[in-house]
Symmetry: C2
Subunit: 361 residues, 2 copies
């Protein structure tokens, strides 16, 4: 029935020129108040919305943010990224942007994908995930002056770009400190093999809490590939020790699950060993594992905020690359760590600032 309204049709309706309508939307301060309200009314009545494609053609901006997806994301890490993606979609929507997906397996493929997509689309910016040592994407984007923000620190390189990340070390330090306060002394850490950035970071938090408390870490730190199998194998090794640990902090929920599972099958149920995971995945929820949750929607909105700083610099805001480091929060469940379960001494660990109970998010 009714044709899509255009700038011209609205202009005719309001008895002004196209440019005036355009200004009503993009530079209202240029219009006389009376004209402005008349045009706004016309826009309202006709339900006019500018067509992105046309605007994009002229301005070479698209209000689109590109995000590369790993095609076969591994289950657990995939969970975190997918939740982040949901948050990002929402945050972008709030700012008038949309998320454009493309798939890319591995750095070089992702760079090819950037190249490909930039050749045909006017993407305004990119959001990177899963940064790692030797990441080539950031340099590539930076060289070309393309705006981007990464969810994940630039491990290794001191790249001067904006990023948002979650402070894994702070999380493990906090939970370890809680356990210490609850009387635990032999607290193990089951993490990934060295060199993974994220994993090293999470391990550091545990280590610093232990050494700060003047406790030894020798023999308490195990490294396994991610997965329940790794966790079980680590737990076996821990049990073989002369004095097994009384609590275990893990770099992931999968490891935590494995550790928990094996301990539970082996130990007498009388003296539960708190096991703490990371990422608060559905696995943790289902099994009632305590876990450190990343504030993913917050991370996503921070990413979007930093992007907007780059894309639409405000006069008062410095358009410098900025960094945001968010603290994870502890989700305490049945197999609790911290104030809930105590090994012997019921000294209540003082509640941490960012602690929630029950199902996260």
């Amino acid at each position: 029935m009714s044709e899509r309204p255009t700038l011209a049709s609205v202009a005719a309706y309001a008895r002004v020129s196209r440019q005036t309508v355009s200004n009503a939307l993009n530079a209202p301060h240029l219009l006389h108040p009376d004209t402005l309200s008349r045009v706004q009314q016309a826009i309202e009545r006709t339900h006019y919305r500018p067509l992105r494609a046309a605007r994009s053609l002229r301005t070479s901006r698209s209000q689109l943010v590109g995000v590369g997806l790993q095609p076969a994301g591994d289950g657990v890490n995939g969970y975190v990224l997918d939740r982040f993606l949901h948050g990002l979609t929402e945050a972008a929507g709030g700012a008038g942007y949309h998320v454009l997906l493309f798939s890319a397996a591995g750095d070089s493929k992702e760079i090819e994908a950037y190249d490909d997509i930039l050749a045909t689309q006017n993407l305004d910016a990119f959001v990177l995930t899963s940064t790692h040592y030797g990441d080539r994407r950031t340099a590539w984007l930076a060289e070309r002056g393309l705006p981007f923000v990464s969810f994940g620190r630039p491990w290794g390189t001191a790249a001067p770009h904006s990023w948002v990340d979650v402070d894994g070390a702070a999380g493990t330090r906090e939970v370890t400190t809680n356990l210490l306060a609850a009387g635990h002394r032999r607290i193990a850490f089951v993490g990934w093999p060295d060199g993974s950035g994220v994993g090293d970071d999470r391990r550091d938090g545990w280590e610093s809490a232990m050494t700060t408390a003047g406790l030894p870490t020798a023999g308490l730190r195990l490294q396994r590939e991610d997965g329940a199998a790794g966790g079980r194998s680590a737990a076996e090794e821990l049990l073989r020790a002369a004095e097994p640990p009384t609590a275990v902090v893990c770099a992931s929920d999968s490891l935590a699950l494995g550790v928990f599972d094996l301990l539970e099958r082996t130990r007498r149920p009388a003296d539960p060993v708190p096991v703490v995971g990371f990422d608060d995945t559905p696995v943790a929820d289902a099994l009632g594992l305590t876990s450190l949750a990343q504030p993913l929607s917050e991370a996503a909105s921070e990413c979007m905020r930093l992007l907007l700083d780059l894309l639409e610099p405000q006069p008062d805001t410095a358009a410098q690359p900025a960094h945001v480091l968010l603290a994870p929060h502890l989700v305490v469940r049945a197999t609790g760590a911290g104030p809930v379960t105590t090994p012997a001494d019921p000294a209540t660990g003082k509640g941490s600032t960012s602690m929630t109970k029950g199902t996260a998010q």
Copy 2:
């Protein structure tokens, strides 16, 4: 340094008109072979790629497919949809399309989002997920003649649109049949409350296998809200029966986890009760639960295929709405169902056509 090549610049380079270059890309059969190859060479040399925004402005097609995301997707169901999304992104990329995300909580919000996005973007089509009884989205889209495909059947309404779905009943029927062949007689089903389409479908498969085998289902069918807690409570109830079941089929991995967990804590480990979940989530993998996996990347490519039938109808293909129903496949793990674990009689259940071992996908 170098400006982006345009149709005009390539045309100048190849000493032909713009239109000829355009034809080389969109209607090569119109060109003289010599001209064609000359133009193609020019395109190659200049790395020319047509700008989507410009093309879109003229043709009002964008090569974009819209997908609405539930902002706070619940963990497990979220897993399935996210994997589907990854697959869709990849499938779309293969066909020269991209996925555009927008967030929408609930049907009416999603419809608003359609309206909003269509007012400003030239989306070519939508892909819907999580269809359910009383879904208002399909009718809305159909009324407006917008091309779309849903991942999920139109429950309740016999809407004449294209869809792709996974045959849950076939999956539970198959696994139940396997268990029967392995000698089980009392096979329970733990599902969701009636009325959820997907859940009813999964239950039907179990039920039909049981009644086909002439076995009673009374007292063997339990309904619980999704989640491990529901599973545990169901398992408790099952154990209270005079003759507890020897195997349990569940509507989801969360339920299966709960059932498995409680059974394992309660029963003597000598006579394991096979527990089967659905969706093959990381939970199942981590715990070694047998589960029915949805072929999500296949579902995604089928969606894309149906979309392409709608968007770029081939002369030989009828552009009728089409339906695709894919069979899930059984991923057998330690707590196996079917041929692996037998209750007493080692009658080997004949291998199902679509059975894989170990970690899926």
